[in-house]
Symmetry: C2
Subunit: 343 residues, 2 copies
């Protein structure tokens, strides 16, 4: 399997999207965020998506050259319409609006609709951290993307909605949580199926409520994802759906949604409105050290802090490159060749 420097993958992504008609700025944001997902170890949201977004442009799902429009706002809040441009571009612009509002008002909240899939949610809250803030984001499937059963119910009723949060620290990495309300995201079923593996107990349920470990029951069948932690993960999924769907004009999840994408709830909070930034980040650092110093459970040689594993993967891949699976690379080469992009 070929290994690439991050910059090489960024260039390829950028040139492919520019050849498709994206502006240099659009192409750069999307290519950077795809490679960012690979650097963080979330390959399912990385360059594997390059050909998929090319198809989405061709069939008109992703509309190029649209602008991110603020439809309604107060000093601290905004409702943003992405006009079905690249979801990554919309989400980054919306997070930047939240950050600007938090500079003035100590807190900024932006909700987003008419937004295509934005990739890895965890990519955006760190933009707030870079500005001396905490960042938070939730999504739903813009009313669609139904894949998870409710607690006590059967069938694909809710999306695997996500929440990502990031806080500054004075250690090498920010504390960064990125979780879905499902026991595992649907992408992990596709990976397991491709590898011919079973998935762990507790991830999937058949249409009549029996547990299954066969990822094909989900990918090709009617099995549904299961909320993590039973009624608690289900409850979080309901909260993420309302934050993302009811606070934006997109709406919560429904049967027969006419569109798919991501509705978003985005928040930035300026730390120094509460405590001095250096006190906050050193307190978070102290807390990290305290938790990591706990005695290890049998089978563990380390206690990880949320965000620590992604940070380590990034350090490794920035130094040693990003491995791209052969099938993915072949697909990227096909697209690049069609568009006269050098690979």
């Amino acid at each position: 399997m070929p290994i690439f420097k991050p910059d090489e993958l960024r260039r390829i992504g950028r040139e492919i999207y520019e050849q498709m008609g994206a502006s240099p700025e659009e192409a750069e944001i999307v290519a950077d965020l795809l490679v960012e997902a690979n650097l963080a170890g979330h390959d399912s949201h990385g360059v594997v998506r390059i050909p998929q977004y090319v198809s989405a442009i061709k069939r008109g799902q992703i509309k190029l050259g649209t602008s991110t429009e603020v439809e309604k706002e107060t000093a601290a809040t905004a409702v943003v319409n992405g006009h079905w441009g690249f979801g990554h571009v919309t989400a980054k612009a919306a997070m930047q609006i939240a950050i600007e509002k938090a500079r003035d008002c100590a807190v900024g909240i932006v909700t987003v609709h008419q937004c295509n899939h934005i990739g890895r949610l965890g990519a955006y809250p760190p933009l707030a951290v870079d500005a001396g803030m905490a960042g938070l984001m939730t999504n739903n499937g813009h009313g669609a993307d139904r894949s998870m059963a409710p607690f006590g119910g059967l069938g694909r009723i809710l999306p695997a909605s996500c929440m990502a949060v990031a806080f500054p620290s004075d250690r090498a990495f920010p504390v960064a949580l990125d979780l879905t309300a499902a026991a595992a995201a649907g992408g992990k079923m596709r990976v397991a199926l491709a590898r011919g593996e079973q998935v762990p107990d507790g991830w999937l349920m058949t249409a009549d409520g029996k547990p299954t470990t066969e990822p094909g029951d989900y990918v090709h069948g009617s099995a549904s994802l299961v909320p993590f932690g039973g009624h608690k993960g289900y409850g979080l999924g309901i909260v993420f759906d309302i934050l993302s769907g009811a606070f934006s004009p997109a709406g919560c999840t429904r049967e027969n949604s006419p569109v798919t994408g991501n509705a978003l709830f985005i928040q930035a909070i300026r730390i120094d409105a509460f405590v001095p930034m250096d006190e906050f980040s050193s307190e978070v650092g102290r807390f990290i050290d305290y938790v990591k110093a706990a005695e290890k459970a049998p089978g563990f040689d380390e206690i990880l802090i949320p965000g620590e594993r992604s940070w380590r993967t990034r350090v490794d891949r920035e130094a040693n490159g990003i491995v791209v699976e052969d099938a993915t690379w072949a697909q990227i080469c096909d697209v690049a060749q069609d568009l006269n992009v050098k690979v």
Copy 2:
């Protein structure tokens, strides 16, 4: 076991605290919130605590007549010092500050330190709902209350931190989530022990990492609570601790904290800054109906929405009264007699 009308328990609680020297306002807020916990079905945070708070006043942990001080603020944010008054009084005042700020700024965030235990977190976000807002609250143990192991670790390292969220709906009840990062709160171990029952698998772990279902291992021993959903509940616990502890001067959890109580992160968000209130509440209502209409899983005859069970318990107990266990009632009578309060 005796059964009481809510107003009768409110009167008893109020008179006991007034006799202890609390102001009429302090006494009323605390008594109302204790009975509110019983109405919601959370008896562990209800009138069972009346004698406990009397003791806390006597030993000076709860200081009467203190005021809730805003130490630092912007138009949208505040840091509040409770000066170790009744936690319930501090938390309600802080939520009301967040609501007032959200009236002006669309969003209000208040963090709180030097605050005693506030009881059931879920009691406060509905105050925001009554004002046409969404409400959110997280807590930690003001640096203390260590009871839960980190994922991959052993021992009592983190508190069972909580998050409560509430949203308006046009149905009979608001959507209201109130969860702890632990698989179950420590109070449930005390209840199980008192009843001579085992607790479910996955709630507790011994000091050397073995699962146990014996609540005495937690109440009298060194067993620890386990995060719900493994690394995800653990990650949420870290997030709740940072929101509550690092954004307030209280600090995150530590070894040898000199004090115990609740540090708080409180947020109110004005709905109509984003979408018209009637559209929001009807969309949430539609979403409730949609989720509840799903096919039921084996063993379930209904799908419950977060907040629905508490609402039903309240309707029942307001009509039929609140049952108080004999031992609890005897303790309340002892305290009342000492203070010449009629029971």
